[in-house]
């Protein structure tokens, strides 16, 4: 298979039990390069569990994960991140008391001799990445808590882009955002796609997911009950599928 057609991530027959709870009952999921996948389902359907497995927070009880065709096993989120897979939570991506530049390189600082920070280089690189993603921030000295919700997510996306992530998992990225901010986040997701990063968009909001995704995967009670290109399903049909399971 050529690099283009090979899925960047392939999850095969994933099972997960939590004690007596059979949370995932053999799910397959393929994620192609630069594809935006909407992952929808009711509360407790298993979408978060599936994504936490992909991001290395849980280990599957059965099933395999392939990254670019190679079998992978993640013992921690760190190992998944090393392979270019990252889960992003709205409130778990930035440190409020630190400025943008320090946040941008947090844990992956650009350093010179003896671990001292190279501020000029960091500033320049962060600025470029932020511009590439279409985010406008006038001053990198701003603290993270001085940014709007949309800007915060844009910044986290710019960071994923800069660190060459392959797959970005977004957990409810449009929750608690204004209409304007939501549009901004959806446009960042499109920029990520152009930059060839795959996005899994986990949400309850069918309108947002229908607008942003190329493909929509529906999960119900631990099983995949639908996998459609966006053009083949409407929001109403999605809603009915989630509520009635058919």
């Amino acid at each position: 298979m050529s690099e283009k057609t090979q899925p960047v991530v392939k999850m095969v027959n994933i099972h997960k039990w939590f004690g007596n709870l059979y949370a995932l009952r053999g799910i397959d999921l393929e994620i192609n390069r630069g594809e935006v996948i909407g992952l929808v389902g009711d509360n407790g359907a298993g979408k978060s569990t599936l994504m936490k497995i992909l991001a290395g927070y849980h280990k599957p009880d059965k099933g395999e994960i392939y990254v670019e065709g190679k079998k992978a096993e993640f013992n921690s989120p760190h190992e998944a991140r090393e392979m270019g897979i990252e889960m992003m939570y709205q409130d778990l991506s930035l440190i409020n008391t630190m400025n943008i530049m320090r946040n941008f390189f947090l844990g992956r600082e650009i350093t010179g001799r003896f671990g001292f920070l190279k501020f000029n280089k960091m500033k320049e690189e962060a600025k470029n990445a932020i511009e590439d993603i279409g985010l406008k921030i006038p001053n990198l000295e701003l603290r993270a808590d001085e940014l709007s919700g949309g800007q915060r997510q844009g910044l986290a996306f710019a960071r994923s882009y800069y660190f060459k992530k392959k797959v970005l998992i977004l957990d409810e990225p449009t929750n608690n955002l204004s209409v304007k901010e939501t549009n901004k986040v959806l446009s960042f997701i499109r920029s990520l796609k152009v930059l060839n990063i795959s996005v899994v968009f986990v949400t309850h909001n069918l309108f947002h997911v229908h607008e942003a995704a190329d493909r929509i995967v529906v999960i119900s009670r631990g099983s995949k009950i639908g996998d459609f290109p966006k053009s083949q399903i409407s929001v109403t049909e999605l809603a009915s599928l989630i509520t009635h399971g058919s």
Binding site: P77, H78, R81, Y89, L92, S93, L94, I95, N96, T97, M98, R102, F105, L106, G107, R108, E109, T111, F114, G115, F116, L117, P138, N139, E141, L142, R143, E146
Partner: protein
């Protein structure tokens, strides 16, 4: 300079994160000078700067630890126990160098235990170090019998730790140590990747962990650092007075936190500065001295410190607000 420019410069000065503490220090010193001009005499300043750097070194460790979101109340015990143990070893015929190394290793152990208990159990550091404060203080009382013991190091070691250098003792070894440690910690916090990890750990440890920072290591190392600095400065004080005694840590457990907070360090972690911690130390230990010179009962000391903490934190908050407005560009035109 146009008035607009002047205003901007003024706001820029106010918004500096050390402004509130420096401003407080200047006001206090002027006040004490008015009450008794000999406050700013060379002889009084050298009295002040003989002891301030010693406490300042302990405060540095506490400040950096607080920036990472943790407290260490046990510094008051470490401050006394380390010189007592060194004294005990020396009086048993062990060489001063070996005794000092063992004493500092004990500090490493004290810090490591604080850190590992807090990280592994998740019990707040305020509680854990309150416990270890009493544990180590009790041990210090047991090995000393509550009595002062002569603490005599070879004269060269005494000079290195607490000797006068110039200006009637205003410039002394302990001040040089404080400056050296201050510069090192400033560089680490503001210019080194470790500083990024420390600020992140205190700012939001869950995010820091999600970004791959080893939060627990950061904390354990800082607890060790804090204890070693407390032990080292306790040793300095013992060489200065020629004795070691179990209560020489005095009220350091709270005074160090007060100094850090007056210097602008947040009780919630994530914010603070090395220079602020040093200025906070100077403020706290100036007050008692200034009050005595002013002929005011030193009992006023506690009241004044308490009131001061609240006032200075209010000024810090005001400065922070202005700083934020400047960054957001609301004061540009």
């Amino acid at each position: 300079m146009t008035s607009n420019k002047r205003q901007k410069l003024f706001l820029k000065i106010i918004s500096n994160k050390e402004f509130a503490s420096i401003f407080t220090l200047i006001v206090l010193w002027i006040l004490f000078y008015i009450l008794n001009p000999s406050f700013l005499s060379l002889s009084n300043l050298s009295v002040l700067f003989t002891v301030i750097p010693i406490y300042g070194i302990t405060v540095l460790g506490v400040t950096v630890l607080m920036i990472a979101g943790e407290f260490d109340l046990s510094v008051a015990a470490t401050f006394a126990l380390v010189p007592l143990v060194i004294q005990l070893l020396i009086s048993n015929g062990i060489s001063a160098i070996v005794a000092t190394i063992i004493g500092l290793l004990l500090a490493v152990l004290i810090g490591f235990l604080n850190g590992i208990i807090i990280v592994k159990t998740g019990i707040p550091s305020f509680i854990v170090t309150l416990g270890t404060l009493f544990v180590w203080l009790g041990i210090a009382l047991q090995i000393s019998g509550g009595q002062p013991h002569p603490f005599i190091l070879p004269s060269i070691a005494t000079r290195i730790l607490s000797g006068s250098i110039a200006f009637n003792g205003l410039i002394n070894s302990q001040l040089i140590w404080l400056i050296v440690f201050g510069v090192i910690f400033y560089l680490i916090l503001e210019r080194h990747q470790w500083g990024n990890w420390i600020y992140a750990t205190g700012g939001n440890k869950d995010v820091a962990r999600a970004m791959g920072i080893k939060v627990d290591y950061v904390k354990i190392w800082l607890f060790i650092l804090c204890a070693v600095l407390a032990g080292f400065s306790g040793m300095m004080e013992s060489t200065l007075y020629g004795q070691a005694i179990a209560d020489q840590g005095g009220n350091l457990e709270l005074d160090t936190i007060a100094a850090a907070v007056i210097g602008g360090t947040s009780l919630f972690g994530g914010e603070g500065s090395v220079l602020g911690g040093i200025i906070g130390t100077i403020i706290i230990w100036s007050i008692e001295n200034g009050l005595i010179l002013a002929g005011v009962s030193s009992y006023v000391y506690e009241t004044l410190i308490g009131a001061l903490i609240i006032i200075v934190v209010m000024v810090h908050r005001y400065a922070k607000k202005i700083n934020k407005n400047i960054r957001l560009g609301e004061l540009n035109e």
